[in-house]
Amino acid sequence: MSKKIRSNPIGIKLNRRTFLKGAAAGLAAAALPIQAAEAFSWETFLQKHFKEMTDEEIKRVIERLEKEASLEWRKEIHISAAKAKPGVKFGYGLDLSRCIGCRKCVSACVRENNQSRTPQVHWISVLRFKKGEKWIDLENSEKYYNPKLVPEEGHFYMPVQCQQCENPPCVKACPTQATWKEPDGIVVIDYNWCIGCRYCMAACPYGARQFNWAKPNIPQNEVNPETHYLGNRPRDKGVVEKCTFCIQRTRAGKYPACVEACPVGARKFGNLLDPKSEIRYLIENKRVFRLKEDLNTEPKFYYFFTGWQV
């Protein structure tokens, strides 16, 4: 090739050497920010899917995760791997004649489940409707109502969260099986397996799934240290999360945080397979419906009515 430098209208000395140099410099400059990003660890990269791990492997992974989390949040974090109890299938009831739209369930959930404050993540959305107007058409709902006092005259409220479907479309959609239905009916996510493709979010008819668009930020003193691997343990950016019926509490026999927080007792929870539970009672004795039942997702979140709203 001729060593003659080709001149051109731009006026820069453009020959193969100079543009190769420039390209190399450009790529090197681009590589610098990548080094500043989070440190890479082979153990994390090669971690197996939760369902494939033996109990021993789970123990070791949890030890590593607990150490990392405790270091990051400057608090001793416990991660449980409690399995589903046999003979249990969780169900949820929501008394629409009682909900006053106070959103105490939303904030209790945020605190219990270590949801990011900035950017904000809410697992529960409370929708407000006008009495007498279209209800099934959720386009008529208002999520951002901000009155001085609730409940407001002429309105009613409907909280929505993960419905823990028996026939979950999100589980069908996930390309890596990072989300699946546990034997006690809770649909869970392995946050270390999720690739963040968000197909499950497109598949969910209830807007239940939230994505960590950035690294979650929680005030250190508000971090809840009692966590579950499949539930409220500290998550990373780029993974999907959602309500898990407070798996860390319910597998230990306690009520979910939202059930306990509701000041008017609109939230009910229990074991669908126990004929004496309150959830069974309300399904068998009250008028229950579930959201978007025509989609055949078989939610385990039942809406019912006991009386007129106070």
Partner: protein, 411 residues
């Protein structure tokens, strides 16, 4: 075999050498890629929050580009059928370049998926056991990975084989190639059908959960892909020694007329169904063309796209305008823009508007998303440029002639 390798190596060595236009073009693309890479590094660091995607609209510009490009990749088959099956000579000669467009398009698709992932390092989880835990056959995304990889493989094999035969001055052996061709035709249709089913199967999104979606995808793919090809083929004709018969170009434009006709008909069918029945699920279409509750960010774009498509349809339908290169190129550009808007903004975004809980979040890509997108298109352009530059000397027989001349001289 040895001769073929010699020819391949020669072409490879000559790859970085070229005229001023070549250098300027490659430099321009490298600058765009550089920008894209540095912005992507920022996205890796900060997370996808630097895009405009949020929980309400969780798929955006990246997936819109992916969907459009799967269509372009599938459209390469439109050339393959007449070339191989009907031995229509003018197209037979250029099918190689169509297949290379397919390879480029699939590569860009893969890149768009990678930049859209929240945890790209975990992409291996999508492979079957024991490396990953692919959710086959339940997840349509798993199907998409399989068919796209397969399509990439088929087209790469076809291109390499054709070039190999050309480098020794022979025509491809139909008996060897036929099984691959017979496979590639339904395969090409299937990549776009699987991509359509990806959206179609979601009962949560009534805008996508319509049986008309897969046919619409195919119709729009089969007019936008060839439109792109028309432009590229003319460029190649201008800047290289490749000869392309006008007859090939006009045949492709005729086919585009029919596919665009079908595309417009299917759109009309959708519009009729939603607006005449008037149920609540007409909301996304209403948002696109008329605005919904005062939100109308996309309406000017959708009308522009519709006008572009109808104009292009008329141009390609009338033989006089179809065979006039000025109007032909205007038509090709119009189709490309029209279908790009229709398939990207007009298909992905309204699936999420209104969202599952009835909320309207008006999505518009951020600058960072656009820069990364342009960077990936630049990667595709660079890849195609280099592939074509590699292939043309072999295709025209130039290198082979050189070798023969050198061999003669040596004797």
């Amino acid at each position: 075999m040895v001769d073929a390798i010699k020819v391949f190596l020669k072409s490879l060595i000559r790859l970085p050498k070229g005229g001023m236009v070549f250098y300027a073009w490659v430099a321009f693309l490298l600058v765009l890629i550089g920008f894209g890479l540095s912005v992507y590094a920022k996205q890796l660091d900060r997370g996808l929050i630097i895009t405009a995607m949020r929980n309400q609209v969780s798929w955006g510009f990246y997936i819109a580009n992916f969907t459009f490009l799967v269509g372009v990749a599938a459209a390469a088959v439109l050339l393959v059928i007449p070339a191989y099956l009907y031995q229509f000579k003018p197209i037979k000669e250029i099918v190689l370049f169509g297949e290379m467009i397919a390879i480029t398009a699939v590569t860009m698709c893969i890149l768009f998926i990678m930049v859209d992932l929240g945890q790209p390092l975990r992409i291996l989880h999508i492979l079957p056991k024991p490396i990953g835990m692919m959710n086959f056959p339940a997840s349509l995304l798993a199907w998409d990975v399989i068919v796209l990889s397969g399509y990439l493989l088929i087209n790469s094999l076809l291109v390499l084989y054709t070039l190999y035969r050309l480098s020794v001055g022979k025509e491809y052996k139909l008996s060897l190639v036929l099984p691959l061709i017979l496979l590639s035709i339904p395969w090409a249709i299937s990549i776009h059908t699987v991509t359509a089913f990806l959206y179609n199967g979601l009962s949560a999104r009534p805008f996508w959960n319509a049986s008309i979606l897969a046919p619409r995808f195919l119709a729009s793919a089969f007019c936008s892909g060839p439109a792109l090809m028309l432009i590229i083929l003319q460029l190649m004709r201008k800047f290289s020694k490749v000869e392309i018969d006008n007859k090939a170009i006009f045949k492709i434009s005729e086919l585009i007329a029919y596919t665009m006709g079908i595309n417009l008909f299917l759109l009309g069918a959708e519009i009729f169904k939603e607006f005449y029945s008037g149920g609540i699920h007409k909301a996304p279409l209403e948002y696109l063309y008329f605005g919904l509750h005062g939100k109308n960010l996309l309406t000017p774009w959708m009308w522009a796209s519709l006008i572009a498509n109808i104009t292009a349809f008329i141009i390609f339908l009338i033989p006089k305008t179809r065979e006039n290169f000025v109007t032909l190129n205007i038509g090709a550009v119009l189709i490309f823009i029209g279908v790009y808007i229709e398939k990207g903004l007009g298909l992905i975004i309204p699936g999420f508007i209104p969202d599952s809980l009835g909320e309207i979040y008006e999505y518009w890509p951020t600058n960072t998303e656009s820069i990364i997108t342009i960077g990936i298109w630049a990667v595709g352009a660079l890849l195609y440029t280099l592939m074509v530059k590699f292939a043309i000397p072999i295709y025209t027989g130039e290198l082979m002639a050189e070798n023969r001349a050198a061999a003669q001289k040596a004797k």
